[in-house]
């Protein structure tokens, strides 16, 4: 029941872009995006810029499920946090270059996502959100129990930033940003490729009409599990870079508030927009950074208010609203030309 309703709300967002594939505007927008990516650490404090990219990819991974498969995972902190611990442990104990450690963390996230996804896809809609939330909480408790490995309440400290002996990257957050950003861009590219592939088309079909997708011979549950595991891998990639960037992994990364925060970023950016996640992350991370540096303590208050406001008044999110406005403008202009 609820699956179909998800589709009904966002169906207008799922239409193919108004700009044709070969439109020069597409390349211009991509170039502009890359330019922002390159310039970001010049404009804002580099570790904050890195945070934006990490949370952005994390939100994209959630959007891959919510916007393109119709599943709201409220337990993605398990994969982000699980990977940040695993990445940290690999980096500390084996001293490998950090991209290798992040890759390891990402694989670990996919490994724990498989059984969780396998169990969770048995329920749909709102149940899926509740079940994933509960499993993520289980991972949280397990991490808290494995004190010898994870450091319990203290977290995992002193994660090194080994990078092929290139000292600039290892010590300077500014250069590290570019090394980390390369990994995030790979993640975004994977997400984009998944969405714009025959596989992604099936996911959209599963979202819009699971019964029909099943009738067409697609094993709906298998596609959901695959999407879940891919999404977890991307969340793990983001979480791994985040852990390396901060030099520690804490239980906070696994907590349900982290799952909530990433859903907030996704909805703020716009469900089913993919790129919206980066915009949402930009807003939320800079806002939190600003509030924290100005000594304001009730961040939860602000986050909660944003949540309530966007859900009540602004459901298409930033990117979705902008895209709809652009689409409307282009259609209007075409119509006036024809007259």
């Amino acid at each position: 029941m609820s699956e179909q309703m998800t589709a009904k709300v966002d169906v207008d967002l799922a239409q193919p872009s108004i700009l044709s594939r070969r439109s020069p505007w597409r390349y211009l927008m991509l170039l502009a995006g890359l330019a922002v990516l390159v310039m970001l650490p010049y404009w804002i404090y580099p570790p904050v810029a890195m945070d934006i990219l990490c949370w952005g990819l994390f939100a994209i991974s959630v959007d891959l499920l919510l916007g393109f498969t119709g599943l709201l995972s409220f337990g993605h902190a398990a994969f982000w946090g699980g990977s940040s611990y695993c990445t940290g442990l690999i980096a500390i104990h084996w001293g490998v270059p950090f991209p290798v450690a992040v890759l390891g963390g990402s694989v670990f996230a996919m490994l724990i996502a498989w059984p969780i996804g396998w169990l969770s896809v048995r329920r749909t809609g709102i149940y899926f959100a509740m079940v994933t939330l509960a499993f993520a909480q289980m991972i949280y408790f397990i991490a808290n129990q494995l004190r010898d490995l994870t450091g319990g309440e203290n977290g995992l400290q002193g994660i090194p930033r080994t990078f092929f002996g290139i000292e600039a990257v290892e010590t300077d957050a500014f250069y590290f940003y570019y090394a980390g950003a390369a990994l995030i861009v790979v993640g975004i590219a994977i997400a984009w490729r998944v969405v714009n592939s025959p596989f992604g088309r099936v996911l959209t079909a599963v979202r819009d009409n699971p019964a029909r997708a099943r009738a067409l011979g697609y094993d709906v549950e298998v596609f959901k599990i695959k999407a879940f595991v891919i999404s977890a891998g991307l969340a793990g990639l983001a979480g791994g870079v985040f852990a390396i960037s901060h030099g520690f992994a804490s239980l906070q990364e696994l907590s349900w508030t982290t799952s909530g925060k990433v859903v907030l970023i996704t909805v703020l950016g716009g469900i089913g927009t993919l790129w919206g996640g980066l915009v949402g992350a930009g807003v939320v991370v800079t806002l939190e950074d600003y509030l924290a540096s100005s000594g304001f303590e009730g961040i939860g208050l602000i986050t909660g208010v944003i949540f309530v406001v966007i859900v009540l008044l602004f459901r298409h999110g930033i990117w979705g609203t902008a895209r709809n406005a652009l689409r409307k403008y282009v259609i209007e202009r075409r119509r006036s030309r024809h007259e």
Partner: protein, 289 residues
């Protein structure tokens, strides 16, 4: 053996908190189709309000048992009128997210006002101490909490099965459109039912106040366990919510007693097992996918 009976009693007392809250969650879900994320926060508010009533107005436990549910009923009515109502026509996920946002606000507001350390609340006079049955020492308050929640659950059960209001609520849960076709104004019952569900969470909070640490965060883990409870029981089922509530309370108590390191994890393993064997929950009906 004596220890086992004590753990059972503790489990049933804790299960009472879960059962009462899950009952509220199930009733709200049944009639409105809303999964109320802020249910844990409302449970916390119930406990905090009873502590504040005692500290600032001198209103004791027994009065709080009556006053707090009424206050929370009003709170629920406000919440439904101001926020939840506008999203009822949309996908239930939006109300899930909305109530999540409200949870953040409520928890942070309580944290700002009353700090992060626990508020004091003592076991009310007459319910303290232990009673010895045979060779077993049992906490009087645990017995009270357990009996009280069973009585409330039974009362709600009777309300649901023996009164006209209950019939309307059950019919709306079953099939809101068909109920409307029979000439029942379902919309009129939406607000009171939401308030009623919130009041039950508040009542569970009052009951929990004397034995649990009253902090802004006390509802955070509670709501997740509550979700496990309703997944186990089947969210559509009122009986399922109550039975699963007590079941989870027992599992948790035995977990704390015999495998303290894994007490929390056991609940989620139980949930996984239920999803594996009966995806719709122990008392739930099959979902039409």
């Amino acid at each position: 053996m004596s220890a086992f009976i004590q753990y059972t009693l503790q489990g049933l007392a804790a299960g009472g908190f879960y059962a009462l809250s899950a009952l509220g969650l199930a009733v709200i879900f049944g009639v409105l189709g809303v999964v109320n994320f802020s249910h844990g926060a409302c449970y916390m508010l119930g406990a905090v309000i009873s502590a504040v009533l005692l500290a600032e107005l001198g209103i004791g436990f027994w009065a709080a048992l009556v006053v707090v549910p009424i206050v929370m009923f009003g709170f629920g009515v406000l919440m439904e009128r101001l926020f939840v109502r506008w999203l009822l026509a949309l996908d239930p996920l939006y109300n899930f997210l909305l109530t999540f946002g409200l949870t953040l606000i409520i928890v942070e507001a309580v944290k700002q006002r009353y700090g992060v350390s626990g508020l004091p609340y003592e076991i009310p006079a007459g319910l303290g101490g232990q009673v010895t049955v045979g060779s077993v020492n049992l906490s009087v308050y645990a017995i009270f909490a357990c009996v009280f929640s069973v009585v409330v659950c039974l009362a709600v059960g009777l309300l649901m099965t023996r009164t006209r209001i209950g019939m309307i609520v059950r019919a709306s849960t079953e099939n809101a459109d068909r109920t409307r076709a029979f000439g029942i104004n379902v919309t009129r019952w939406v607000t009171p039912v939401f308030g009623f569900g919130i009041a039950l969470a508040g009542l569970a909070g009052v009951l929990a106040a004397p034995t649990r640490a009253i902090t802004a965060e006390m509802g955070s883990n509670f709501i997740i366990i509550l979700f496990a409870v309703v997944v186990i029981g089947g969210l559509g089922s009122i009986l399922g919510a109550v039975v699963a509530g007590f079941l989870v309370g027992l599992v948790e108590a035995y977990g704390v007693a015999y495998a303290p390191a894994y007490a929390q994890i056991v609940i989620f393993v139980l949930m996984a097992a239920v999803i594996l064997v009966r995806p719709s929950g122990l008392f739930g009906r099959e979902e039409v996918a």
